[in-house]
């Protein structure tokens, strides 16, 4: 239902000096799996996610979603953007309703769902507020609700909590864990925060830059259901040490 498969995928941005953003990427993400993409700035994480989202076309290789080719963006692959990217002239409720409404769904069908999602992300009192009246964390929660209202088969998240302070991040992590554990949607989560990747993901793909490639995959052995308390778990510390060594080695290779 929500499987993603990259086969020898390459992406070069054209221009005077073409940028090879991705080079022969192979990746398989199973139904309901939570995969984190971890890597330094500019290694092609966003590019990879944008290919799945259908925002960009690849240059070579094949990419399939649920066995079919990806040709354009669609509600079965919901994206949560770094800066939320809410429409500033619409209220919180209208932003969440945008998807169902352009899909010509009946209002009676999606209105109760929006109320339920507002409660889930703790924003019932802000249904009629404008995005500019919300904090960064609240805006991001609207972004998540806007994605979930479409019942997506996969959630694509590009550093969704990158701009938030530590405390807000932690509550967002808990929220995402709770949501994912109850819905079981496939998640592709881009980050350059090691802790975040370990805490959330089943599997971590480490990328290196120039050319952008997946160099290592690590299966996270932390018990589910997870919570932010596991940040001090011995297994967590072990994973962190492993990943840091991996990334340091990758960096030396390039220096």
């Amino acid at each position: 239902m929500g499987t993603i498969r990259f086969r020898e995928v390459g992406k070069t941005y054209p221009g005077k000096e073409p940028v090879v953003a991705l080079d022969r990427v192979n990746l398989e993400i199973g139904e309901g799996e939570f995969v984190a993409l971890l890597g330094p700035s500019g290694c092609g994480k966003s590019t990879l996610l944008n290919l799945v989202a259908g925002f960009e076309d690849m240059t070579s290789g094949t990419l399939s979603f649920n066995g079919g080719a990806v040709s354009s963006p669609g509600p079965e692959r919901a994206v949560v953007f770094q800066e939320a990217a809410l429409l500033p002239w619409l209220t919180v409720a209208q932003n969440i309703a945008f998807g169902p409404s352009v899909q010509r769904k009946a209002r009676a069908e999606y209105e109760p769902k929006i109320r339920e999602l507002l409660r889930l992300v703790g924003l019932e009192r802000f249904a009629d507020a404008l995005p500019s009246q919300l904090s960064g964390g609240m805006r991001q929660r609207v972004g998540i609700a806007r994605a979930l209202v479409m019942d997506p088969k996969a959630l694509l998240m590009d550093e969704p909590f990158g701009a938030l302070d530590a405390q807000t991040r932690m509550s967002m992590h808990q929220l995402l864990l709770d949501v994912w554990q109850s819905l079981g949607t496939t998640v592709l989560f881009v980050t350059h925060d090691i802790d975040e990747a370990i805490l959330l993901a089943d599997r971590i793909c480490i990328m290196s830059a120039r050319p952008g490639r997946i160099t290592h995959e690590i299966a996270v052995e932390l018990r589910r259901p997870r919570s932010v308390d596991q940040l001090t778990d011995p297994a967590f510390i072990r994973h962190k040490a492993e990943i840091m060594a991996e990334m340091r080695a990758a960096q030396k290779e390039h220096a």
């Binding site: 989202a53 259908g54 925002f55 919901a78 899909q103």
Partner: protein, 294 residues
Amino acid sequence: MNDAPARTMAAAPRPAPAKVMGRSAGFAAGRSRAALRAVLLPIVIIAAWQLAGRNGSLAGGVLPTPDRVWDAWVMWAFGPKGMGLNPYSGTWLDNVLFSAGRVAQGFLLAMVAGIPAGIMIGWSRAVSGAVDPTIQLLRPIPITAWLPFSIAVFGIQDMGAVFLIALGGFYPIVVNATHGARDVDRNWIRAARMMGASRFDVLRRVVLPAALPAIFTGLRIGLGIAWTAVIVSEMVAVKSGLGYVLWDAYYVGRMDVVIADMLSIGAMGLLSDRLIVTVEHWVLRWRRLQTATR
């Protein structure tokens, strides 16, 4: 290429945060003080003008003093119609309505053509490539240069004036709408597409609202040009309206009517601009909140 007017104007109409937040007694006092400060300069000018005159005129009898202008305006506005001695008597409202009607028609045409055209040019590279060069080529031709063309095609009729107004208003509207549509945040469009919006949905529900602030800037500039166009064409090509009276009164040496006419044009321009600003404030409510919270 033409961003300069769009950018500088776009920044101007944002209200100060204080306006949105507090409505205290101090605020009201500050407001009346501001009103007082605004009328001070006109009072000084009118007083100096009155005092400089002798026997109701100045500059060697060419310019009438304010009291004469006032008298002429009262006669023009409220005098009985059809008096042989004063052909202007009682015709003010008619002429104002003639001019305003032409501006309304021409400006409506400019909006109906300019907003969709600008959005399409800003949105689609193909449309931009096909249409924009022609617009940029025609745009430097001043509307006054179109007068002979307009008279030749439409004759001494309303249509000629409406054509000039529509043309003059079209350019700033189309240019600003183009900029508005071109500068839309890429992630807004991506988000909409991801949520299942068709290309038309994106145009109507993302690009158009995102371009509205720029469009309103264009409307305000366009309206100013529309008033210029109506006066010019009435002076030359139509036999009614404020522009016609202006030139006619000059011809028969009625400078008091000329000045009353000029002030009437100014008042109408101001009034119609306020009208757009009011609509703008209402349509762009979300933006006011945004500036207030930042």
